[in-house]
């Protein structure tokens, strides 16, 4: 089937209100824990208070005595009941290979050790608090720099080799100007406002799971493997997700236990975990350290770039984000060295968190670039311009498009960058020190196989079905705009169904691939319908008889020819069939190769990740870019840090839904501000336990932290990335922001803070 590229039906690119907006503002949007389930029992988790050791003994008598308690699950009665499923980051399903409640072993703080089920939430909670556990406690390693013996370190176990070219060490030694610095980023937690919830309902041997998910097909198939049952017998329902940011992508351990409990009781069981538990029952962004060395000649041209990263993972899992893949291809440089190390600790397995690889790694590189600009007494924008590249410096593969400098120029102009006095501490306003900083944002334009069913009813209403997910990204709206555009119908005539594993499989809502993957599938299905209608019209008697079917378009509810003939869509539909007209499409990304190209849909149907990365798009690489400029104000005496304004300009191919895309970028930039100034999960290093596991102590930006946020779209046409020319942007906005803040803090104060977040105490 031909890809319907460059079609302009006037809907793609139109700013419209979110089509699911009304449901969300009236409280009618049904998130998984909103589903009313008759006769549901309530579950409450009990989690470990130690990070490493073994459970010696449970004391359940007090808990069992609580009126209304129905069941208590521990490893003693669940051992062996939940099978192994492969690790998501290793191409499988689960967020971790740690299997709680399968043995007395404790791998990390907050590991699930028991689940109480009771008639009411209140009784379950009371009983959970009365579960007492005796542990054999062993000394735990909290993370980096622990003086206790570290678990073995491993390098590069998951993916390809560390990108390298030339002799970076020699070139660095010989460089006229050098920057050599260490940077660090903290542990962070996604903290979507919706908690981690699961409701399981058995009906005979079939299971329905209501759980917020970024990947219903992954959840379904992974759970089937764990429960040793056919995936056909499981349905996962998640039409709305109250924020995810990566935390709801992989199958976490809780789900299988809720299913088990429901089976044991022969009645539905609903779990709503607590906010504190949200810090340990899913994943997190691990802390990272970076050693960046840049060498340049006096003109600012990079001669050497080396980036070594360290990341924390759990004891059993080799999880890493390895952002050197991106930092090695961002700037022209003949000599590049990268290395990524994993440091194992007694912690849960980390996982994807919004822009997993780019957020920590690009932060480090973009701070170092600013340090280099200072060392060269050069404007930091000019330094990026001098080192801009249209090819990957490692292997020479071209970018499909790269509008980084256009982004810099647009954002700089909107920001008023030319008025900047580069001297640190030179700009003030009363008691406020003013700092201006900038940084590069980038994200690979990933695409995955996706399937969709489009049905046009005889009255012209359109139904789009695909098991994609709208996690706040605007997927419902972008998909509806695509269908409305290609079928020439008003937006109100299109309905979109997502987030249900009975729908055609769609990829994980992660890696910013969803809009590109799903909208291309939907567009192909619409194109198939158009083509069938046009063929029939051209062969039949009627106003369009004999016309070239390939040139016919669907516009304004009519099938039209280039020479101005037309007929109503309803007439065209009647010619085909009396019932609804349907097309089911399996879209394979144009850039797919190897296993994904051949097996992509099998993988997708099995709920396995099958995304092709923008960094591995065959003969080229494909990335979206942006440039962010912001102002910090630091109070001379109190050192309070504010960000009164931020401007970001982004080039991300064709923007399907500008309203929701703008919100994604706006939210992303605010995430970046949070990353720079607020967020960090503190760890009690003696016990390897999280300290600030609630929303009062884990700081995220609140309304009063944010003022002016300006999003600029830099037009970009790139039909090499995929037929519709879409580059994902959900994870673009928060890349580089933290570096821009850090660079602005340096400009305001002359102090280079290389350890995030930057807080008042760092500037005293």
């Amino acid at each position: 089937m031909n890809a319907p590229s460059r079609i302009d039906g006037g809907m793609i690119g139109r700013s419209v209100p979110r089509i699911d907006g009304r449901l969300k503002v009236t409280g009618a949007a049904c998130y998984p824990s909103d589903v009313g389930v008759e006769d549901a029992a309530h579950a409450f988790l009990v989690t470990s208070t130690i990070a490493r050791g073994r459970i010696k003994q449970f004391h359940l008598e007090d808990a069992q005595a609580v009126e209304g308690v129905l069941d208590i699950l521990t490893y003693e009665n669940t051992r062996g009941k939940v099978g192994k499923a492969r690790f998501f980051a290793g191409g499988g399903y689960t967020s971790t290979t740690i299997m709680p409640m399968d043995s007395p072993k404790i791998w990390h703080d907050g590991q699930i050790v028991a689940m109480v089920v009771a008639e009411t939430f209140e009784a379950a909670r009371e009983a959970a608090h009365k579960v007492r556990v005796d542990y054999d406690v062993r000394e735990a390693v909290a993370g980096f720099g622990d003086t206790r013996p570290q678990p073995r370190q491993m390098s590069n176990p998951l993916s390809g080799s560390d990108p390298k070219t030339g002799d970076a060490e020699k070139a660095f030694r010989e460089a006229e100007v050098q920057v050599d610095a260490y940077y660090a980023t903290p542990t962070q937690h996604h903290n979507p406002i919706e908690l981690f919830t699961t409701t399981c309902v058995w009906s005979g041997d079939t299971l329905t799971v209501y759980e917020p998910s970024q990947f219903v097909h992954g959840l379904k198939n992974g759970l089937a493997q764990q429960l040793n049952m056919s995936a056909d017998k499981i349905r996962v329902v998640s039409p709305f997700v109250g924020g995810a940011f990566g935390s709801k992508a992989a199958l976490t351990p809780r789900t299988a236990f809720v299913a088990l409990a429901a089976k044991r009781l022969n009645r539905p069981v609903k779990l709503v975990s607590t906010r504190a538990q949200a810090f340990t029952v899913s994943t997190y962004r691990a802390e990272t350290e970076h050693h960046v060395k840049l060498g340049a000649d006096r003109s600012g041209r990079l001669t050497s770039l080396s980036h070594e990263g360290w990341e924390v993972s759990s004891r059993p899992d080799n999880y890493k984000v390895a952002g050197t893949e991106t930092t090695s291809l961002l700037y022209a440089c003949p000599n590049i060295y990268t290395k990524v190390n994993i440091v194992h600790a007694d912690r849960g397995t980390p996982g994807f968190m919004r822009s997993p690889a780019e957020v920590p790694y690009v932060y480090a590189l973009e701070c170092a670039m600013d340090e280099l600009a200072v060392a060269l007494t050069m404007d930091p924008v000019e330094l990026r311009r001098i080192n801009d590249t249209q090819v990957n410096p490692i292997d020479g593969k071209p970018y499909s498009s790269r509008a980084l400098m256009q982004c810099y120029d647009r954002a700089a102009e909107a920001f008023g960058w030319s008025k900047r006095n580069p001297l640190p501490g030179s700009m003030t306003d009363g008691d406020w020190l003013i700092g201006w900083g900038c940084a590069t944002a980038c994200y690979p334009s990933n695409v995955a196989p996706a399937e969709a069913r489009v049905t046009v009813a005889p009255n012209g209403t359109v139904r789009v079905q695909t098991a994609g997910h709208d996690i706040g990204t605007g997927a419902y709206t972008a998909i509806a705009l695509t269908a409305a555009d290609l079928l020439g119908v008003p937006l109100e005539q299109v309905s979109v169904e997502l987030g249900d594993s009975t729908l055609p499989p769609a990829p994980v809502a992660g890696g910013s691939n969803a809009t590109a993957s799903i909208c291309n599938a939907v567009a192909q299905a619409c194109e198939d319908i158009r083509d069938r209608l046009a063929q029939a019209a051209s062969h039949a008697d009627g106003p369009l008889g004999g016309a070239d079917h390939g040139a016919m378009r669907l516009r304004d509810g009519r099938l039209v020819t280039p020479d101005g003939r037309s007929e109503p869509l309803k007439d065209a539909l009647t010619r085909i069939d009396f019932g609804p007209m349907e097309s089911y499409v399996k879209y394979t990304p144009e850039i797919a190769s190897g296993t994904v190209k051949v097996m992509g849909h099998k993988m997708l149907e099995s709920g396995l990740p099958a995304m092709t990365s923008g960094s591995a798009a065959g003969d080229h690489i494909q990335y979206a870019f942006g440039a962010e400029f912001l102002e910090v104000r630091i109070h001379r005496r109190t050192r309070e840090i504010r960000v009164p304004r931020i401007v970001g300009a982004f080039a991300a191919g064709r923007i399907i839904s500008p309203t929701t895309a703008r919100s994604q970028l706006l939210g992303g930039m605010i995430w970046g501000i949070g990353s720079a100034l607020h967020e960090a999960t503190d760890i009690d290093r003696r016990a390897a336990r999280y300290l600030n596991d609630d929303l009062a102590e884990y700081l995220i930006p609140v309304n009063a932290d944010i003022r002016d946020v300006d999003v600029i779209f830099v037009p970009e046409e790139d039909y090499q990335v995929n037929a519709l020319g879409i580059k994902g942007l959900g994870e673009l906005g928060n890349v580089g922001t933290a570096a821009a803040v850090s660079n602005a803090v340096f400009h305001a104060t002359g102090r280079r803070i290389r350890d995030l977040p930057i807080r008042i105490e760092d500037l005293l």
Binding site: C30, V46, T120, E122, R132, V133, F240, G667
Partner: protein, 192 residues
Amino acid sequence: MALASPPRSTSSRGLGMDTFSPLKTTPAAHRTGGLDVTLSVNGRDHHLTLDPRVTLLDALREHLGLTGSKKGCDQGQCGACTVHVDGERHLACLTLAASAEGKSITTIEGLAPEEGSLHPMQQAFMDHDAFQCGYCTPGQIMSAVACIREGHARTDDDIREYMSGNLCRCAAYPNIVAAIKQARDQMEGARG
């Protein structure tokens, strides 16, 4: 012997939520099925028999099927459960249902003047795309309406400050401010 984990949560903040609250040890009420409570929600009286520990949030969500009010932390830190009690904004997760008896409760489901219509704040949130995932939105909207009534929406800075108890992890904050300004002008115009 170590206690298992729930007590480590910062429930000291959780006034009504504290598991060690003396209320939970009212065994008579518990055994006999709880307290009889009449809640007036969105203009309708509901007669419920509740465990005395049931929060207003859980009464709405689990007992009345009014799931528009959301549970985001259950400890008064996120604002997703914000409802109006006698016209003022309250955190339903920190309010015991029984303590709301005799008061007039309004939730997101009852905010619009009539079935099928939208309150100006709801419309403004749609017009300005003042949400993404939508989970904090009912709480934001209830809080925003009260914020205007309180006279705390006169300036952008006031709005930002007085809306800071409602967290939006998607970070739609600038759009929320824009929406509140639009609705404020409409609400005040309607009043004047």
